[in-house]
């Protein structure tokens, strides 16, 4: 108010009028935000539905692979642990190893090579140890995640460590 008293020549509107205009702009802005939120929220939830469903799938802590105990020596079984690819290797020496099959470099699905007894990623040539999942050479920055494996007479149970 005191500003206007000092420079009265610049006041074109009554002070009250300026207040109503400000109130109007604030109300219009608030209404606009409210509309944006009311339209944006359902659209966001709609588009995010698959990731929410995947979230509940990644909560999986254990997968039972029926008849997997019959897997021959020196071979691999690819399966999904939740939503992500994983592998069960039955090594030539009889050892069982369960690993995540997602390359830690850029996310390609890796491959078990039985002759070389190693895990190889075709995308950028990453190599992992087929017993521990350790990154041996190439670009991968981290080892593959290792799962706990329990073999019984009906199948194989793979679980998070």
């Amino acid at each position: 108010m005191s500003d206007q008293a000092i420079t009265p020549t610049f006041v074109l509107e009554e002070p009250g009028e300026q207040n109503t205009r400000r109130a109007f702009l604030v109300a219009a802005g608030a209404a606009g935000l409210l509309y944006t939120a009311a339209l944006g929220y359902p659209i966001y939830r709609y588009l995010a539905s698959p990731s929410e469903m995947a979230l509940s799938a990644t909560a999986v802590t254990e997968v039972t692979l029926k008849d997997a105990h019959k897997l021959p020596l020196g071979s691999v079984l690819m399966f999904k642990f939740g939503t992500a690819p994983a592998m069960l290797i039955h090594h030539a020496d009889g050892r069982w190893v369960g690993l995540s099959a997602v390359c830690t470099h850029l996310g390609c699905t890796v491959q078990y090579e039985s002759q070389a007894d190693r895990i190889h990623c075709a995308c950028h040539g990453g190599v992992y140890n087929a017993y521990t999942g350790a990154n041996v050479s190439g670009p991968p920055p981290k080892p593959l995640k290792l799962f706990k494996v329990a073999v019984n007479e009906t199948g194989v149970e793979v679980s998070r460590t």
Binding site: P42, I43, R45, Y46, L47, S49
Partner: protein, 358 residues
């Protein structure tokens, strides 16, 4: 200062100030019938809503054999999928309603007269495409209602002598409505029709910019000093946007309070459900064909019906060429009565159609 520089930089390259100058000079007439000017804009808004919700549905919809399952997923599994689908379907219905109001207001204000003939013609083609949009979109969920509606709708081209069956088979992708039909209706609905509709809509809107809003003959008869108008920018556009907001609110209310239903999955060996009837905007032509069929039974009736229809629509489309100008008093009156007859016939047959649902 930087704003000014940035504006100048863009202006030099895109000519914004020419557009601004054009917008400043554009005016909209004000008179007792001004309310009807909003309906073109409302139609445009509802079209945009459908583009937007249509793209959202496209995210999960799968045509072909999985069509029903994917719509079931959208409706019952995806968060707010029911709302998106409901908004799309309601917007489609309100869209058809809005363009019909728009068309009749143009008709009775005689806004199709010189130099606006192309506006009328392009509008009629847009209406035709809109109804094909409606017909093709109706099948996509592949529930009972859409299955039988498409089956019945494709009987109409069957009545065309000699080539009717070939045309119907071409549209259906075989002798029966099947997953092939959904697949090609899908291609039609989301690719072919938009590709034709959008440039034509651009043409239609460009013509509106070029010729401005037509005022009714009663206004044109007044001396220039008595005619009132308001600037398009910002006065009319502000009112136009207010109408868009009102339309949005009505659409949101309808879509959420009356969610669009999904029937049982279409099955050719399950009999048609009781009380099945065409969508309201197809009720009138359907009922007219039925009435003509009872007046002239048999194949003759079918052909006579189609012929009468074609002539009626032809006369309607060509109205700018025989109701030419202010001097054509007799013809202007005849056109007016033709319009009233069309409104009466549409309403009456729609009412009869709903009345006689069994």
């Amino acid at each position: 200062m930087t704003e000014k520089t940035a504006y100048n930089w863009i202006d030099e390259r895109l000519g914004l100030s020419e557009l601004a100058a054009f917008a400043r000079h554009k005016t909209v007439p004000v008179h007792a019938q001004s309310f009807w000017y909003y309906w073109g804009g409302i139609s445009l808004f509802l079209f945009l809503v459908q583009c937007f919700t249509g793209v959202l549905l496209l995210v999960y919809y799968r045509p072909g054999a999985e069509a029903y399952e994917s719509v079931r997923q959208i409706t019952f599994v995806m968060h707010f999928g029911w709302l998106i689908r409901s908004a799309h379907a309601w917007a489609a219905n309100l869209f058809i309603f809005a363009i019909l109001v728009h068309m009749f207001s143009v008709f009775f204000m005689k806004a199709y007269r010189k130099p606006r003939e192309f506006g009328w013609l392009s509008g009629m083609v847009l209406l035709g495409i809109a109804s094909i949009f409606g017909f093709s979109g109706y099948l996509l969920p592949m529930d009972e209602l859409s299955y039988f509606a498409t089956k019945v709708g494709l009987q109409i081209p069957m009545a065309i002598p000699y080539v009717g069956e070939a045309i119907a088979n071409m549209l259906r992708g075989g002798p029966e409505v099947s997953e092939f039909t959904v697949q090609r209706f899908f291609a039609l609905h989301v690719v072919v029709l938009p590709a034709i509709f959008l440039p034509l809509l651009g043409f239609h809107l460009w013509l509106v910019q070029r010729h401005g809003n037509a005022s009714p003959p009663s206004e044109d008869a007044k001396p220039a000093v008595e005619r009132k108008s308001i600037p398009f920018m910002p006065n009319f556009i502000r009112k136009d946007l207010a109408m868009w907001l009102i339309s949005l609110n009505i659409l949101a209310l309808l879509a959420s309070v009356f969610p669009w239903a999904l029937g049982r999955q279409a099955d050719a060996i399950v009999p048609a459900p009781a009380g099945i009837h065409p969508e309201w905007y197809f009720m009138s032509p359907f009922e007219m064909l039925k009435l003509l069929g009872s007046v002239f039974p048999g194949e003759f009736g079918e052909i006579a019906g189609l012929l009468l229809f074609t002539v009626g629509i032809g006369l309607w489309v060509l109205i700018p060429f025989y109701d030419i100008g202010q001097t054509s008093g007799q013809r202007a009156r005849a056109a007016h009565y033709f319009g009233l007859l069309a409104v009466f016939a549409l309403l009456a047959t729609t009412v009869i159609g709903y009345w006689t649902i069994r």
